[in-house]
Subunit: 376 residues, 2 copies
């Protein structure tokens, strides 16, 4: 993997780059649609590439480990082949879902024992096991096994947890370096900065993570309920410490506004379930603000879903029809809204890249942030 | 509307024709995918036309009346415009769903009072109202309001019900002839033969229906639980009475085998939820038999879903991946399986037409019926 910085904004930390992987080049800043269990919900892989122009998608190790399991993915020749996706892919380490989804969990120095949210079966994830599973899945970018602390988080717990995450990181890299990719292409391991909303912990964590000299670095434990100001403050603080010649990935963030603000702070990669999850509830993102398509006001609005969008679903279907589909629980409504939202996120990233290259990012961002926050 | 018969099979009653409507020509025999509430579940209109090659789709008056309601559909300029579908469309009369779905219902000579399965609200459908609603929806082919008797059905009830359906038919045609299409293109009203599984009642009903000289005729009240033999016996019997120069539509039928057998008896049009509903449960139709994709045996079968199918989903995705998606409840699994099944049904109809034109229908049908009944 090789990260090539091609442009820097004049009046912010925003930068545009190219992340070269064995499955192709990713233009940064980028947003990665979430393909939880091997599928971005309701969207064909063909639509992901042709309509949404996704350059990289994310898979969740927790979900994929439980179903279909690593044995089937290995037999398929890795997740790319299993799901018929030949562009880059990233997997998280499973940690976040273990904490947020599993029936019960017990953390100790060795790892995390947890109960499947599907059948109640018990499993044990360790840093070594998380690497092993991610070797089987075979994403281009894999993530270190960490503990993602909740918000708010007691200082002492945050500190202890962060220190354990750092110890786990050593074990992750040991396991990673002792193994090889199973499918003939390279995998890169990204470590994750933790430290909750405490500046001194974030400093310590960012310095520790930077010292590993990884091919990319991630910031975790944000967008978990903290005020927006703290998200930006921590992101800015950590970005200043993480190496600038490596991609920075802010995990689980966020709204279109969050993305633009964090690009300005030096973030290159994002993932979030928001555009796809909110789509399923009828919430549409547009460059002029958000639309709750369930509102009565759209019932007889037969204009295209988004007249300013180049995506075919936005031109072919009307707001009134999409409202009808979402209100009546039709799958097609979810499909249309998800394509709409994800393609909007990807176009926003594309425009951000262009503005960075033109040296016009900051004023554009200011204007967009205002527009994006409106409710239509 | 104009029905042009272009070919007859030598050794059966099968025929190939062209049904000319104001939204284009339908090649018969044809299968009509069911688009219940203005959407064929999980399938884009673009996929219906480009991947499935649907020539006509069906909408349900009951569902569309309840949601979004005729007011919105009228404001949109009819259902075609509302859902962005410019090919032919057919709506049923609402009768079948009133009997099968609604909370409670009370039938009398005037019509049917029923309770919405969605919000419990009360509504009253009469023959006149069913026509009025179908004028608002604006399908190319609309159906008479009838009572669809269950199976088994007491002879006296079947007879009384049939007679009422005939009286309702007079009222339907009166209402139809007294009104006009709202959207500038023609609508045709098809009457429906009833009479349960009683030959004498079917004779009486078919003769009555034939006497109306409608542009097409339908057979209802079959595929409601009766043995397959009775389905074929009644269909054959009624087909012999209904005019041969008008299309014959067998409502709610059926399996691929049912379709081929009934084409041989003189049926031109079919609709059924089976291909789309079964798809949602992981049941795939192929020309070599049915596949229950949930079966363990497909867990590591990485071959294409259907190597003999020209449809892209069948080539791009593997059986193991589709199994994973269906097992984990992913929408994408439903989407893939639905496109697979519907496109299979439409290809089967296309092949039937070709075989009729080549005079090879009957031997082909015999061979196919054996293949189709296998379980893979």
């Amino acid at each position: 993997m090789h990260f090539e910085l091609i442009s820097h904004d004049k009046s912010s930390k925003a930068r545009a780059g190219l992340l070269h992987t064995d499955h192709g080049v990713i233009e940064t800043p980028i947003f990665m649609p979430v393909g939880t269990g091997g599928s971005v919900k309701g969207v064909h892989q063909k639509e992901l590439s042709e309509d949404i122009h996704a350059q990289i998608i994310l898979g969740n190790t927790y979900h994929l480990f439980l179903r279909p399991g690593t044995e089937i993915i290995e037999k398929a020749g890795g997740l790319h082949k299993f799901i018929s996706w030949d562009r880059p892919m990233l997997t998280d380490s499973g940690g976040y879902q273990v904490y947020s989804l599993s029936g019960s969990r017990k953390i100790n120095e060795e790892g995390v024992k947890f109960q499947s949210h599907i059948d109640g079966s018990y499993h044990f994830f360790t840093p070594e096991r998380a690497i092993e599973i991610q070797r089987s899945i075979g994403a281009d970018i894999i993530m270190a096994f960490d503990e993602c602390t909740p918000y708010p988080c007691d200082y002492n717990y945050a500190k202890k947890s962060m220190q354990m995450t750092h110890r786990w990181l050593h074990r992750c890299f040991e396991a990673f370096n002792a193994t090889e990719s199973k499918y003939g292409y390279n995998q890169s391991l990204f470590p994750i900065v933790q430290g909750s909303t405490y500046k001194d912990l974030r400093t310590e964590s960012a310095e520790t993570i930077a010292s590993f000299g990884a091919e990319g670095n991630a910031i975790g434990g944000l967008s978990v309920g903290e005020p927006e100001d703290e998200l930006y403050e921590m992101t800015e603080h950590v970005c200043a410490i993480l190496p600038s010649d490596k991609p920075r990935y802010l995990m689980g963030v966020g709204t279109p506004k969050n993305l633009l603000e964090c690009i300005a702070l030096g973030i290159d990669m994002f993932d979030c379930v928001m555009p796809s999850r909110n789509a399923r509830h009828g919430m549409l993102f547009t460059e002029n603000g958000t639309i709750n398509i369930k509102n009565e006001k759209w019932a007889t609005d037969f204009s295209p879903i988004d007249s300013e969008s180049p995506v075919w679903v936005d031109q072919v279907y009307s707001k009134a029809y999409l409202r009808h589909l979402i209100k009546t629980g039709e799958n097609l409504g979810i499909q249309i809204a998800t394509i709409h939202n994800l393609s909007f996120y990807l176009r926003l990233m594309k425009e951000a890249r262009e503005k960075i290259k033109l040296g016009e990012f900051s004023p554009w961002k200011e204007k967009m942030v205002k527009q994006l926050s409106q409710r239509l």
